[in-house]
């Protein structure tokens, strides 16, 4: 048994909230979206900024988030590995809180992905390997690079275009149950395949939204959580894992599997002492339709090559045995740029029993984030008090 097993359930999410609005928010800068979500999460925990002694965020500097809110931090985590950063912040906070480095950590996300208010323009640095080895070949950004392995997956495992198209179709079914989701109208496989081709085999409807929004978490020790007068029950961190691979897709070990998801998932499940069969609810970062398919296999929920049929057969849909991306996901709910925070938010809601598309009896929820084009990943296993 690895030593991190001792930290199972040692910290809890005691506050969780998203920005007041989601979607198009031209009146707020990216930093304000961090702050708006932070104040909502602190209110959710019944706490104030002065109760926080640790700050973690990506995109903006934790220095700015702390200073804006008047927090005097004794712990700062500016880990930025893309959209999975928030899973890593939670894991690092677990280490910091249990080691006594700090007591209460605020994790924030905010991005003006659509309105681009107060955002540094996105451009790979000229010295990056992406700029040296990929940009001269004209990728149309992430829609070319992230799914570049999909054809190999289709060739090796026989996935059809229709099966790939069922991923956004099923997530739209979840989004239809969620009033805060941006895209709520039902779609069909035919609709997906009739949507414009961006980088064949990827159509527009295989791609995530581009929105403005934020989210924040308040974390503290399970011991302190028990002493607080919390409006909502604590959600315990049972396990966490992280890993990284390459910032260029030519540097990935495999084009049909993510090593970073595999390692992060293995560590998280091992720490939690649980197996995929014991998971009630699942979130897998879906910047593009193939990512949840890779995730289902790399986390061990299904065997190699089995994910497309598993989704097409309705097992991840409303009423299915493994509810997946129940907020509608990045494809239909919201996707600000670094979506991982929203996956965690939905996991917390499902364990609390407060999600708009609530699944019955969720005690264990797993959420997996991915950064870049499979360059990084983080997985959290979250649980109710019954799982301790």
């Amino acid at each position: 048994m690895s030593r991190d097993r001792a930290l199972r359930g040692a910290i809890a999410v005691v506050g969780a909230a998203e920005s007041t609005e989601l979607g198009k928010i031209p009146g707020k800068s990216a930093l304000e979206l961090h702050v708006d979500a932070a104040l909502n999460a602190l209110a959710d925990a019944g706490l104030r900024p002065s109760d926080v002694d640790g700050v973690a965020c990506a995109g903006e500097l934790p220095v700015d988030v702390a200073d804006y809110l008047g927090i005097v931090p004794e712990y700062l985590d500016g880990t930025n590995v893309g959209g999975s950063s928030y899973m890593l912040h939670v894991r690092h906070a677990m280490a910091a809180i249990t080691a006594g480095l700090c007591e209460t950590v605020l994790v924030t996300h905010g991005e003006s992905g659509r309105s681009r208010v107060g955002m540094t323009p996105w451009a790979p640095a000229p010295q990056s390997f992406m700029a040296q080895l990929e940009l001269p070949h004209g990728p149309v950004g992430a829609p070319s690079l992230f799914p570049i392995g999909v054809r190999r997956y289709m060739a090796e495992y026989g996935m059809t275009r229709e099966q790939l198209a069922t991923v956004p179709v099923v997530q739209r079914q979840w989004a239809a149950l969620n009033p805060r989701a941006r895209l709520r109208d039902p779609i069909t496989v035919e609709d997906v395949l009739a949507s414009p081709v961006i980088a064949d085999p990827i159509h527009l409807m295989h791609c995530c939204l581009v929105t403005d929004g934020g989210g924040a978490l308040v974390l503290t020790s399970a011991e302190r959580a028990a002493q607080l007068d919390l409006p909502a029950p604590p959600v315990y961190v049972l396990g966490a894992g992280e890993s990284s691979e390459s910032t260029v897709v030519s540097g990935l070990e495999s084009l049909t599997s993510s090593r970073a998801i595999r390692i992060g998932g293995e560590r998280a499940f091992a720490q939690a002492g649980l197996t995929p069969a014991e998971v009630d609810h699942l979130m897998i970062y879906d910047a593009f339709a193939h990512v949840p398919l890779y995730g289902l296999e790399d986390l061990g929920f299904v065997g190699r090559g089995e994910a497309p049929a598993f989704v097409a057969d309705g097992h991840t849909a409303p009423g299915g045995r493994l509810p997946l991306n129940t907020n509608g996901g990045g494809l239909a709910y919201t996707h600000t740029g670094m979506y991982g925070m929203f996956a965690i938010q939905e996991s917390v809601r499902q364990v609390r029993g407060t999600a708009p598309a609530q699944v019955e009896g969720v005690d264990v929820s797993v959420c997996t984030g991915v950064g870049g084009m499979f360059m990084s990943s983080g997985t959290l296993v979250l649980g109710s008090a019954a799982t301790l």
Partner: protein, 138 residues
Amino acid sequence: MSDISTDSRPVPLPTPDTQEWFDRIDAGELTVPRCRACAEFFLYPRSCCPRCGAREVDLVPAAGTGTVASFVVNQRAPAGFAPPYVLALVELAEGPLLMGHVVTDAPDALEVDAAVRVAFEQRGERRVVRFEPTGSVA
């Protein structure tokens, strides 16, 4: 050949650890970095071996052949590029993957594992690697 004054397509801006690899491409030669200690081939070019950590790295002339590991057909494109075109990851004969266009008039007929050979495209004062199908499937 593209006009250097109007071609908005990016060219690599090498760092010291990638300079020689790109310089040799500009001279019309693709090389693959190989560790002198453990003989591992790797890409991207770097100044140590990602398998064993040795600092002695040789740039070995590539066989110039490979197979298409996977690809997308871009129907949208950044400034300066004219879609549709095949953006591929090619598995070189030496093992590592390398990105480049596969030049073909029939992108929809291209298949995973198709055999290709290395070619070069002049872009301003630099050359950029691309691939041409050899008509056989590996």
